[in-house]
């Protein structure tokens, strides 16, 4: 692993959930632009494999690989301390962390429902609270967090996962409101179905997009300081329609 000097003066970015398909693509994008990265995720071995891969592909400067488990809230403060030890100048954070189980299984097994909510919502709130405090003090930076188009409307086929993402949408909206005066960008990335390990084997996913498309869109949106991004773009239009379907009709639909 390289040391963090002699590379560039671009600010470091923290990637949470670094082994996920979208995060890997985003890391490639950020590394190509010369940003040093801190990779964090549940399985350190996998994170290190990802780090080596990024270094080979882009000459990336990976400052550290850290273990991060969304479910273990009690460790998040220590994690944050470690992050800031490696990168006191941290200026950005990309979060693509989450689980999705089969809806039917979630309905019959509460432990899966609980894990969905704990990981996708509580875990994120726990770490984002800490990050928000850091950026608020710095008075600059960005938090870009991947949620899902599934969070816009609850559908019978996926509402456990969808509601965890909907909660995130509201949380990020509030955080954005709070950090606006501190000039911190809080970005909600509403991702459509993406061809990643998470969606393998799922049938009938419309407009399945490669993670590289999302990564490019997200990077562009960060530069443009967009609050809410639908990616791929088509979902902006689809959700415009879906969000306007009146509830009396929506509840009758098989979605």
């Amino acid at each position: 692993m390289k040391t963090n000097d002699n590379f560039s003066n671009k600010p470091p970015i923290l990637i949470i959930g670094a082994t996920s398909g979208i995060a890997h693509a985003f890391s490639l994008e950020a590394a190509k632009k010369g940003h040093p990265l801190i990779l964090a995720g549940r399985d350190l071995k996998k994170i290190q494999l990802t780090a080596t891969d990024l270094e080979i592909r882009t000459d990336a400067n990976i400052m550290a690989c850290l273990s991060f488990d969304a479910l273990k809230h009690e460790d998040h403060f220590t994690f944050m301390t470690k992050v800031l030890q490696h990168a006191p100048e941290l200026e950005g954070c990309f979060v693509a962390c989450g689980v999705m189980f089969d809806q039917k299984q979630c309905e019959s097994d509460f432990s899966l429902t609980l894990e969905t909510i704990t990981c996708n919502y509580l875990g994120m709130v726990s770490i984002l609270n800490l990050l928000a405090n850091h950026f608020e003090k710095k008075k600059k930076g960005f938090i870009s967090c991947v949620t899902s188009v599934a969070g816009d409307r609850g559908r019978q086929s996926n509402y456990i996962y969808g509601s965890s993402k909907a909660a995130m949408n509201a949380y990020l909206e509030g955080l954005r409101n709070r950090l606006f005066s501190s000039h911190v960008l809080v970005q909600t990335v509403k991702a459509g179905p993406t061809d990643t390990p998470m969606t393998k084997g799922m049938k009938n996913l419309p407009f399945l997009a490669p993670p590289e498309t999302l990564a490019k869109d997200i990077w562009k949106a960060i530069l443009q300081k967009k609050d809410i991004v639908y990616t791929p773009r088509i979902w902006q239009y689809l959700m415009l329609i879906i969000n306007h379907i009146p509830e009396w009709f929506f509840k009758r639909m098989k979605l």
Binding site: T50, R57, K200, G201
Partner: protein, 449 residues
């Protein structure tokens, strides 16, 4: 681990089969504890044409696209190591800016490293360089007995049986490859018009020793005195001094062209002899004069078909077969003539024909023998295709030739064994490492391996 049903086919879209499928994203330690399955079939990007990556009734298809991490790259010595799901496109993107290139390039960059090794891919430089096995420095293979490292100095029998072994020797987990040094990302190409395939063979024999890359495109539709006319394409990697000043600043620059996609349902009647005949004629006559020299970007040279991401849809729902055979040099002219005459007699058109000289493959289950290979794209919409192809098999066999299994979907086990006498010694090595036939595919079942 998610296991799900998926409808799969090779690139030729024949046969199509519902397979039990799963994906791997990170290295495995052991395959047998991976899942209690009768057997495993390995699949990368599904770019083999026939049934090599399709499962059988009781096998689990392991898709390796997610196994896409690079492990090391030595920019000084040009050695790259990566997990099997990394694609050739990703390797090219990574190594070209540092002055390295794939030592062997097939006609598409959308294949995985594991698939490339299992098919022992060859390219336009086979006559000069051979197939990819000559550049494999090390493989990590998970056999029934566990992980096994093989290289030219260690477990050589496994290495030689795996390159071109169509996934029968085990799960190729990682590949270490020696790269080729380049000065520029360009190819200095020389194009020569040939009147027929005999002339293509003669000119090729005369000239291709001076070129690393050589291949002939033949017009499959032209009749009468134009039958088998085509363009012989010869090329070498350009050196820095070959570039115009405008390109000298960034000699290793590469930007992929935009890729186009065909709609999911492409009417198969659109691809007919008239349209292809017009296209071929235009392609042939576009080249003015008998000879031209060009400086081409490597993408244009190696991957012309990749700009249409799913050109296999052109052949419609029924799909197509790419019939690729090799005939030893001494019989090449006679054998190829017999094959083309047989196709003409049976009125079976082939839309694309590619001819090139090849050298020997030094692997246990070789495709190439020193001679000429011809690849013909044949649509399956004609009802008599399979009968005619059986006839071709016997012509190829009579001339001492054989077929490329990566593109095959219908060869019979008896003919296969006659074509490939090396089969017995190859299968002996396969069983040495996999006594319980844990690795199988529709192809291995069909050929009764």
């Amino acid at each position: 681990m998610k296991i799900y049903e998926q409808s799969l086919s090779g690139w030729g879209r024949y046969p199509v089969l519902n397979c039990k499928t799963t994906d791997v994203f990170y290295p495995l330690n052991d395959i047998t504890s991976f899942h209690e399955q009768h057997s495993f079939t390995l699949r990368g990007l599904g770019r083999s044409y026939g049934d090599a990556s399709l499962g059988t009734d009781n096998s689990l298809v392991i898709q390796t696209q997610g196994l896409n991490k690079m492990l090391s790259f030595d920019k000084k010595s040009g050695v790259i190591s990566a997990l099997a799901g990394v694609t050739l496109e990703e390797i090219i993107e990574t190594v070209v800016p540092h002055g390295w290139f794939l030592p062997v390039c097939p006609g598409t960059r959308f294949v995985t490293l594991g698939g490339a090794v299992a098919s022992n891919i060859h390219g336009k430089n086979h006559h000069h360089t051979g197939a990819i096995n000559r550049f494999v420095q090390e493989l990590e293979i998970i056999t029934e007995k566990g992980p096994c490292i093989c290289s030219p100095s260690k477990n050589t029998d496994l290495l030689n049986a795996t390159c071109g072994g169509l996934g029968q020797t085990g799960f190729i987990q990682s590949v270490t490859l020696n790269l080729k040094k380049i000065e520029t990302a360009y190819i200095k190409a020389r194009l020569i018009k040939v009147k027929n395939f005999e002339e293509a063979i003669h000119v090729s024999k005369d000239l291709d020793s001076q070129y690393e890359h050589a291949v002939a495109w033949l017009d499959g539709i032209a009749k009468g005195s134009h039958m088998g006319r085509g363009i012989l394409m010869l090329g070498n990697h350009a050196e820095l001094c070959n570039l115009p000043d405008s390109k000298k600043k960034h000699p290793l620059k590469n930007e992929w062209k935009r890729i186009w996609t065909l709609p999911p349902v492409f009417p198969e009647w659109l691809l007919n002899s008239t349209h292809v005949g017009l296209f071929n004629s235009a392609y042939y006559h576009k080249m003015i004069g008998n000879e031209q020299n060009h400086l081409l970007n490597f993408e244009t040279w190696f991957f012309p078909l990749d700009i249409l991401s799913n050109w296999n849809r052109l052949y419609g729902k029924k799909g197509f077969i790419q019939y690729q055979f090799v005939i030893p040099a001494e019989n090449a002219e006679k054998g190829i003539k017999q094959v083309l005459e047989c196709l003409a007699k049976n009125k079976l058109p082939y839309f694309l024909a590619v001819l090139k000289r090849v050298r020997e493959d030094n692997v246990s289950l070789p495709f190439a023998v020193p001679g000429f290979t011809l690849a013909l794209d044949i649509s399956l919409k004609y009802s008599h295709v399979f009968n005619v192809l059986n006839e071709l098999d016997s012509l190829v066999l009579d001339n001492g030739g054989r077929l490329y299994l990566t593109k095959d979907a219908r060869l019979s086990p008896a003919t296969f064994r006659k074509m490939v006498p090396e089969y017995e010694s190859w299968v002996h090595v396969v069983r040495k490492y996999n006594p319980n036939k844990k690795f199988a595919s529709l192809l291995s079942k069909r050929l009764e391996m």
